[in-house]
């Protein structure tokens, strides 16, 4: 059945899902009972005549109105939840970016300034997979990570992009899904409720990992586009975050090439202390 829920809005949609399924189950059972009972009971008998019953306005109105009312209820509930899920992310949300490519996911964090720097698909190459434009100052402390880390209990804003074809970020445990569209960044925010360790205990599976799957056909490796997600306790998250090295720091030659391009910006870059990056999100955790 449904993968265990690990996000705040997941609990709400889960309730709505099962409520809907129960209503549908009742309708399914009732109509099928009628379908089979009638078929059985009114089988052809010699000499019997069917009942001439071409219409009846009253029951037709009734069985138009009842589904309409039930639907109105479901639409209203769905609309409220949908608007809440899709509403703007809280200001203090932890931000990260996921980029889909054939056939992998790339992850980028904004660094301590909480601002994702400019990227440009024309700058992409084998080392600069994201297309960092390091002449943008806010990108200097951005770092890329091999997997996603997010803190438990804190809103997370996922920024999503693709650099080639459509992909879709699908994280079944968090009830998160959003397309990755080249040329049109998308987003989704959610609040994880259980750390990976807690989930391992709950499922009794010591090897449990949250998984991010690609859910839009994207070619040969579509079925294998997987990324692990780690939900940490907030403290662990901060510790992890502060250990990461920025892209510019790890690729001095790329930084240097931008330096050559724009001396002015480069001097700003040089002014940024390399070590001791503290995530801004820390303040609010």
């Amino acid at each position: 059945m449904n993968p265990p829920i690990a996000s705040v809005h997941g609990h709400a949609t889960e309730r709505m899902f099962w409520t809907t399924m129960i209503i549908l189950g009742i309708v399914f059972a009732l109509t099928h009972i009628l379908l089979f009972v009638y078929s059985y009971k009114y089988q052809h008998k010699e000499g019997r005549r069917a009942f001439f019953f071409p219409h009846n306005n009253k029951i037709e109105i009734i069985w138009t109105l009842i589904p309409a009312i039930v639907m109105a209820g479901l639409v209203f509930a769905g609309w409220k939840e949908w608007s809440r899920i899709m509403g703007p992310a809280p200001k203090d949300a932890v931000v990260l970016e996921v980029m889909g490519k054939q056939f992998n996911w790339l992850v980028r964090y904004p660094g301590r300034d909480q601002k994702l720097g400019v990227v440009n698909y024309r700058l992409i190459d084998a080392t600069n997979e994201f297309g960092f434009d390091l002449s943008d100052q806010s990108g200097l402390d951005d770092f890329v990570a091999p997997e996603i880390h997010v803190p438990k209990g804190h809103p997370v804003l996922l920024r999503i992009r693709s650099r080639d074809v459509l992909h879709a970020v699908y994280m079944p445990h968090f009830r998160v899904q959003m397309y990755a569209v080249p040329g049109m960044p998308t987003k989704f925010w959610f609040t994880p409720t259980k750390t990976t360790d807690e989930m391992r205990a709950q499922t009794g599976n010591p090897k449990f990992n949250y998984e991010l799957a690609c859910n839009q056909i994207c070619g040969r490796g579509h079925f294998a586009m997987k990324l692990n997600i780690v939900v940490d306790e907030p403290d662990d998250y901060v510790a992890w975050f502060s250990q990461q090295k920025s892209f510019s720091e790890q690729n001095p030659d790329i930084l240097a090439s931008f330096k050559q391009k724009t001396n002015k910006l480069a001097s700003k870059a040089a002014a940024i202390p390399a070590a001791a990056v503290v995530p801004a999100a820390n303040a609010s955790l």
């Binding site: 459509l166 397309y179 579509h222």
Partner: protein, 619 residues
């Protein structure tokens, strides 16, 4: 018309009687006085009944191909770890060391979807029965333009051939899903299947759309202009209402897909950027800017969604008719049935973006589409309740056609209900592109439309070929298929709820999805068995054409006009004058009537004892 009638030879009933050349329209004037040759009679025929059979048999061929493809990919999904060396001789380079090529898997899925939706259920179902029944049931000698009708089949045929050829080209057929979303489909360098295979897909679809438009214009014109005397719109059988509205849907929606395909061809070949922007692929940054792949989705689904109704509405019409005939009752709520068909048709144009809730569109737009989508449940519910009320207190005859019609109602309910989950945007976040969707649409449009198709074939086979299909084989076919469908698609809901994504070549890489190994095997076994059960039907069909029990003119004691023709109607349909129509099509078990059915062409003056005040209302 009257001029034509005079020079018509009388056609005797019975199979095997050669038809005299009958002039019924100016275009056949030249062959008025001589026998038609084999070519003009069976190949380039302008007779709507022959064209219907051409559509039917071509559709059956495609169904076998489409089903074979699904058996192949189910094999892979059931046993992703196994090797299939024995397939090597058939699949050649698409299987390496016994492992199916993942790209080829996607091509299989794509071709299966395209074939089933367009070639089987649009051309094979709608093409067959619209062609066969419209002139016969409205009392016309043929379609408005027999020549265009013939072209419609041949465009379909050529489009078919091109799609078929694409299965054998070096780089494989299109592999971007039947929805062919760009950029995958727009960039020949993206995957092998977006090269020549995609080009052929687009060309084939363009021709297919031409075929649809030629057919559709004809159906609409015929229904509007060629109804026999007394056949007002409010006396039309529900089948004709369904075909008529379906044709209108096609006429409005297919050109949008055509334009999308055209723009896609431009993006692929002429450097435009309708659907492309900011792309780095295969080691290169492309120059395209300013387009949007999401725009394509809007265009695609503007056809794609009405398309599912194009597939299912003809089935609804035929099922309504068969349920009434075999319950020996009027269809309940004739007007509400028409009203709900119209409602569904209108609404089907304003819900397309429910396929796009998670593509990053404005959430407000999502709310609007959720609202419109869920409203469709209301006319659908009305139809369902009316079908049930038609069975109530009937005198039900379980012909094979009736069984498939009851099966249709069951599948339509089951599949329709899960649509309510998917129409809810908040829930679609989890369900989109999972097997829940696959299960849903296979029940509601795949299987139930197929059931409508089978019901129609069993029911009208005597009119097509002058013989009956074997009922025992029909029973076996029904039960195997009915059970098969539920055994395949119910478990698919289950894996879908658990998040299992569609279009996955294997699920072994993910912990989350690996827990259903056994269920996947089960689905595969059921699917392959259900597929093979269809050969019972194929055998029955071809055997009965030659050896089936001979039919009489009106074997089901039906009321509609097609049963007033000779057993096998010849060119021109009625040997003498076309009967005039006096009453609505569902006078079954009328109180006071001698028999339990009164055909539409029987005047009220002949049935005094059974004329009810109700008739006044039906005017």
């Amino acid at each position: 018309m009257a001029a034509n009638l005079s020079n018509q030879a009388q056609v005797q009933g019975g199979a095997g009687v050669t038809e005299p050349g009958i002039s019924h329209n100016e275009h056949t004037h030249h062959d008025e006085h001589h026998e038609q040759g084999f070519l003009s009679k069976y190949v380039f025929s302008t007779d709507h009944k022959t064209i219907a059979k051409q559509f039917l048999i071509t559709g059956m061929l495609w169904a076998i191909i489409g089903g074979t493809l699904s058996s192949l990919f189910r094999l892979q999904l059931g046993w992703p770890e196994s090797t299939f060396e024995w397939l090597q001789p058939v699949l050649g380079k698409w299987i390496e060391a016994g492992k199916l090529n993942p790209e080829f898997y996607l091509a299989l899925v794509t071709m299966h979807g395209t074939i089933m939706v367009f070639f089987v259920l649009t051309a094979g179902l709608s093409g067959t029965f619209s062609n066969f029944l419209i002139p016969l049931q409205i009392g016309a000698r043929d379609m408005a333009s027999g020549f265009m009708n013939m072209l419609s089949y041949w465009f379909f045929f050529i489009s078919s051939v091109i799609m078929f050829v694409s299965l054998f080209i070096e780089t494989g057929p299109a592999a971007a899903g039947w929805t062919i979303y760009p950029p995958l489909s727009a960039l020949p360098q993206a995957i092998p299947g977006s090269g020549a295979g995609m080009t052929l897909w687009l060309v084939s679809m363009a021709l297919f759309i031409v075929s649809q438009l030629l057919g559709g214009v004809n159906y609409i014109t015929t229904v509007i202009n060629l109804r026999t005397q007394g056949m007002s719109m409010s006396k039309l059988p529900l089948t004709i209402w369904a075909f008529f509205l379906t044709a209108i849907l096609g006429l409005l929606a297919f050109p949008v897909l055509f334009s999308a395909a055209l723009l896609l061809i431009f993006d692929r070949s002429f450097g435009t950027s309708f659907f492309l922007s900011d792309i780095y692929i295969a080691g290169q940054a492309l120059p395209n800017t300013g387009g949007s792949p999401i725009l394509f989705q809007h265009l695609f689904w503007f056809l794609g969604h009405p398309e599912v109704y194009i597939v299912i509405m003809p089935a609804m019409g035929m099922v309504s008719e068969i349920l009434a005939t075999n319950s020996r009752k009027p269809i309940f709520g004739y007007r509400a049935m028409i009203g709900s068909l119209i409602g569904i048709s209108l609404l089907s144009f304003v819900v397309w973006a429910h396929h796009m809730f998670v593509t990053g569109m404005n959430p407000f737009l999502g709310s609007v589409f959720m609202f419109l989508t869920l409203i469709i449940a209301v006319p659908s519910a009305v139809k369902t309740f009316n079908w049930l009320a038609t069975l109530w207190r009937g005198n039900i005859r379980f012909t094979s056609a009736m069984l498939f019609s009851i099966g249709f109602v069951s599948l339509f309910i089951a599949g329709g209900l899960t649509g309510i989950v998917l129409g809810n945007a908040a829930l679609d976040i989890q369900m989109h592109n999972t097997y829940f969707v696959v299960a849903h649409f296979h029940l509601v449009m795949g299987s139930s439309a197929f059931f409508g198709l089978f019901a129609g074939v069993y029911h009208w086979f005597p009119k097509m070929f002058g013989r009956h299909l074997d009922e025992k084989l029909g029973y076996i076919h029904f039960w195997l298929t009915f059970l098969g469908v539920y055994l395949v698609f119910l478990p698919m809901h289950y894996v879908g709820i658990a998040g299992f994504p569609r279009r996955y070549y294997a699920w072994t890489g993910f912990d989350t999805f690996s827990q259903f190994a056994n269920l996947n095997k089960f689905i595969s076994v059921a699917a392959i068995l259900a597929f093979f059960a269809q050969f019972v039907f194929v055998f029955n069909f071809f055997y009965s054409i030659f050896r089936g029990r001979r039919a009489s003119e009106n074997p089901w004691n039906s009321t509609t006009l097609e049963w007033t023709t000779p057993v096998v109607p010849g060119h021109g349909n009625w040997p003498g004058a076309i009967p005039a129509v006096h009453r609505w099509p569902y006078d079954y078990s009328k109180p006071g009537a001698a028999e339990d059915f009164i055909p539409q062409n029987v005047p009220y003056s002949q049935t005094q004892s059974s004329n009810l005040p109700y008739e006044k209302e039906m005017e």
